[in-house]
């Protein structure tokens, strides 16, 4: 992309925050989003910033874009402390390079867990400030004035004393970049009172391309001579094709090749329609290898519930504080309860796919894909061919939704594309149909929760015991990370204990389950099922103690002014104290990775059909500094919609190890006519930003359940709270 070939990594790195020459030479094109200009002369000021003599500031964005807005918000953070003119900023997709661009919280390039702004915020501010310092030093030398006399305005260095100004672009023409990055202390970063960009909405860079069909996802890629591929994968993880009859498939016009794989059968054709038809025409029987054969999700729910309650099963202790058994013995009131959550499917709108083009000798490959970790994608492609990672060229594409599905350690859809391309040594676009995407889904895990709580005579919560039986997730999704975290499966078991509530005695235990079903992180992660259990249970405890559920929660966060402010906001927004007739309210509160959130739902119940209607949801959210406030709102709206699906309708069932749902016809994601009015109040306290990508999701199910309990006196204990379950609970 850069015109000069001389700038390829001839410089030096100074720590992670170092300035270096030359990295921009390998920046790939960002397809479908704003392109960096290709200036004739440019100064590469750091791995993050390249300055052109025309004033264009190219800033690298290290996170993957799947609609959450990181592609805009992360470079904007650099631009803030660099004091760049946003109108002159061109954002460039980071190349796959963990050394330079890893997410600091993961150690590799991985966009997940609402961690992009959270983890990159301070490093990016410092990188921006360092580049600004280099520009100031250059201007000081140029004018022969003390650097302390210089200030900046967007894209310009100013010497107030003499009234002189130097545009950033002018400095690029003579900039000398030091070997060692200048040191910038955190207290030297721009005070938030002087922010020009952070906290003020800009148009998301990818957005204009998303209203006219020009945004490019990997499924849209077409390369010369490209073929189309489909794969019939084994219905159960670990199973292999046994008998394969592909005669009917071969008879279909346009079929190029049929490939037997260890885990399925691939079809390569001249059009995708022919490839799909060929896949459909395959007659394949499967070996019974794989653990999930025989597994039934209904029975699994019962088994997990029994395991969660069984004092004899081995447990992993996640949190222990005080003495829960003793405190429960001394409590004036003890309550116990069971909750359960089902499998959930990601259902990202773009079915999984990738394009791969393996060289004729099989020693190189180009891939086009949207993934949550592009360095993993490179590794997967290299491993599929047994070649070195530097023989892989990755074209990073937008993702038509991620939600945790596109970042597993094996990124199996990338592997699929590479093996099909390798079979014909031609470019192949490998696409899963929606049916493949459901059937080969990797699901939010099944869980059962056993809870015990103790109140003292005054109604104060003195002890909480939460024991969760849950499919292990990390072991399947990411064996590398599983090793690193030494078998502590945070995706399944984090945040069991409601640490944001002042409870003197607490015990949180995990009972890992392995039924062989493919499992995955998914928006909301462990908090999703945990919050359904714990926030429902907190409500039960409040009612048992005869205390208003909002007041009960206030008493549990009495030492946290930020938390109290949110509960006060959401009760004010929802007119919590106003009496309703045919509807009722339910409340919940959570600290999700330092983002504080309070929600209230107003519901009614059709006692004839069991249908829950959610009329309104009020959300008060405090994510710290809101880098892009409108993105916070957008993510919160989306999280509420996801929460509704989890709460009411989304349900994967498994019989004999095989997924029973087929498509959106029988896997019911929320549609517009099912969503409530969503009211959001953003209360951005001036502290380090925390995540926003999923934080409103976990509370949706419990606030709905709490509202149903307030309305009917009946407690719903299984998510999703389907009509059948509501009817059964009302009758019981």
């Amino acid at each position: 992309m850069a015109s000069s070939p001389s700038v390829s990594r001839r410089g030096f790195m100074v720590g992670a925050a170092g300035l270096t020459f030359g990295v921009a030479a390998c920046l790939p094109h960002s397809v479908g989003v704003a392109q960096a200009a290709v200036p004739s002369k440019q100064a590469v000021l750091s791995p993050w910033v390249t300055l052109s003599t025309d004033g264009t500031v190219s800033i690298v964005s290290p996170a993957a874009e799947m609609g959450q807005g990181s592609f805009t918000s992360l470079p904007l953070i650099i631009a803030e402390d660099l004091d760049a003119d946003w109108a002159k900023v061109r954002v460039v997709v980071a190349p796959p390079d963990d050394k330079l661009y890893a997410n600091p919280n993961f150690g590799y390039m991985y966009t997940a867990s609402s961690n992009a702004v959270l983890a990159y915020y301070t490093p990016l501010r410092r990188f921006g400030a360092q580049v600004r310092r280099v520009l100031l030093d250059n201007a000081a030398r140029h004018w022969n004035v003390p650097v302390a006399e210089l200030t900046t305005a967007p894209n310009v260095v100013i010497h107030e004393k003499s009234g002189r100004r130097l545009d950033y672009g002018a400095i690029a023409a003579f900039a000398v970049v030091p070997e060692k990055a200048p040191e910038v202390k955190e207290e030297e970063l721009k005070p938030s009172s002087q922010f020009r960009l952070i906290g003020k909405d800009v148009m998301r860079i990818d957005m204009p391309h998303k209203v006219n069909g020009t945004a490019q996802y990997s499924i849209d890629v077409q390369t010369p001579g490209m073929l189309y591929g489909a794969i019939l994968r084994a219905p159960v993880e670990g199973a292999a094709p046994d008998q394969v009859n592909d005669a009917k498939a071969h008879a279909i016009a346009g079929i190029v090749k049929i490939v037997r794989l260890p885990y399925g059968v691939g079809v390569i054709a001249k059009t995708s329609w022919a490839a799909f038809a060929g896949k459909k025409a395959l007659e394949v029987t499967w070996t019974r290898d794989g653990k999930a054969w025989g597994f039934d999700s209904d029975k699994g729910s019962e088994d997990y519930a029994a395991a969660a309650r069984n004092p004899q099963v081995p447990v992993q202790t996640w949190v222990t504080q005080g003495d829960v058994p003793q405190a429960l013995q001394n409590a004036a009131t003890v309550l116990e309860a069971d909750y359960g959550c089902g499998f959930m499917y990601h259902g990202q709108m773009e079915p999984l796919n990738a394009v791969a083009s393996v060289s004729p000798k099989g020693d190189k490959v180009e891939i086009w894909v949207g993934v949550q970790s592009k360095t993993i994608a490179v590794t997967v492609a290299a491993d599929a061919l047994g070649i070195a990672p530097d023989k892989v060229v990755l074209h990073d594409m937008l993702m038509g939704g991620g939600f945790g599905r596109r970042g597993h350690r094996d990124e199996e859809f990338v592997h699929d594309a590479v093996v099909l391309s390798n079979a014909v040594k031609k470019p192949v676009k490998m696409m899963w149909t929606r049916e493949d995407d459901v059937r080969n889904g990797r699901f939010y895990p099944l869980s059962a929760h056993y809870l015990r709580g103790g109140l003292d005579a005054s109604g104060k919560l003195v002890a909480l015991h939460h024991r969760k039986a849950c499919d292990q997730v990390t072991a399947f999704q990411d064996p590398v990370r599983y090793q690193q975290i030494k078998g502590r499966d945070t995706i399944a078991f984090a945040n069991l204990d409601m640490k944001w509530y002042a409870i003197p005695n607490r015990l949180a235990e995990g009972v890992p389950q392995d039924n062989g079903v493919r499992s995955s992180t998914l928006r909301g992660v462990a908090n999703l099922s945990n919050a359904f259990a714990t926030e429902s249970f907190i409500d039960e405890l409040a009612r048992k103690g005869g205390i208003d559920p909002a007041a009960f929660r206030r008493s549990l966060v009495a030492d946290s002014p930020r938390s109290l402010a949110l509960i006060d906001a959401v009760t004010r927004m929802s007119q919590w104290d106003r009496k309703r007739t045919d509807t009722a309210l339910g409340i919940g509160f959570e600290n999700y990775s330092n983002t504080l959130i309070a929600e209230v739902a107003e519901v009614s119940v059709d006692r004839r059909t069991g249908a829950i209607r959610v009329h309104d949801i009020w959300v008060a959210i405090d994510p710290g500094i809101a880098v892009q406030p409108d993105s916070v709102l957008a993510q919160t709206e989306g999280s509420v919609v996801w929460g509704l699906g989890f709460a009411l309708s989304e349900h994967i069932s498994i019989k004999d190890g095989v997924v029973q749902q087929v498509n959106f016809s029988d896997y019911h994601v929320p549609r517009m006519n099912e969503i409530p009015e969503i009211h959001i109040e953003l209360i951005a306290t001036e502290v380090h930003p925390s995540g926003v990508g999923q934080m409103a999701m976990p509370l949706v199910a419990p606030v709905i359940g709490n509202a149903v309990a307030a309305l009917t006196g009946v407690r719903l204990r299984q998510a999703p709270m389907t009509r059948d379950r509501v009817l059964a609970a009302l009758k019981a």
Partner: protein
């Protein structure tokens, strides 16, 4: 035998088998990938186009069924991304991942053609054919209301 129809005002002849869904002909043969594949069974609306002005699931329409008819895709909705619906979509900052939005916009444009001033209930009913997994529904409603107001 070639099938002739119009796409975005341009006459085309395609050689796909007649039962091929219009979606795949648009995306692959005619290289108009703005129309998206989401479910293949008419459940999600990502593939929505206009055929003679009426919204149509292109994954459900065999290409033979549009012979001699006029198809409009997202690429042809306006010359400069300036259809009132597109402008409203940006003003309300609707898209997140963006994958479903071509279909959403084509649905919304069809709604406003038939009902220039739809009620909120009409919007919700009409648009419930289209899934947005990111959950942009509140913004879609606001954008359609804005487009109705401003066009």
């Amino acid at each position: 035998m070639a099938i002739s129809f119009k796409v975005n005002g341009r006459a085309v002849d395609v050689n796909a088998p007649p039962d091929t869904p219009l979606l795949w002909v648009l995306r692959e043969e005619l290289k108009l990938p703005g129309t998206k594949f989401g479910c293949g069974v008419g459940q999600c609306g990502a593939c929505m186009v206009h055929v003679d002005g009426d919204r149509t699931f292109s994954c459900q329409a065999p290409v033979a069924a549009v012979a001699h008819r006029s198809v409009t895709t997202i690429e042809g909705l306006s010359a400069h991304s300036d259809h009132p619906v597109q402008k409203a979509w940006l003003a309300e900052r609707v898209p997140q991942c963006g994958y479903c939005q071509s279909g959403q916009i084509m649905s919304a444009a069809a709604l406003l053609k038939d009902h220039p001033h739809p009620t909120r209930a009409q919007i919700v009913e009409y648009m419930s054919t289209n899934i947005c997994r990111c959950g942009t529904y509140p913004r879609i409603v606001r954008a359609i209301e804005r487009a109705a107001r401003e066009s």
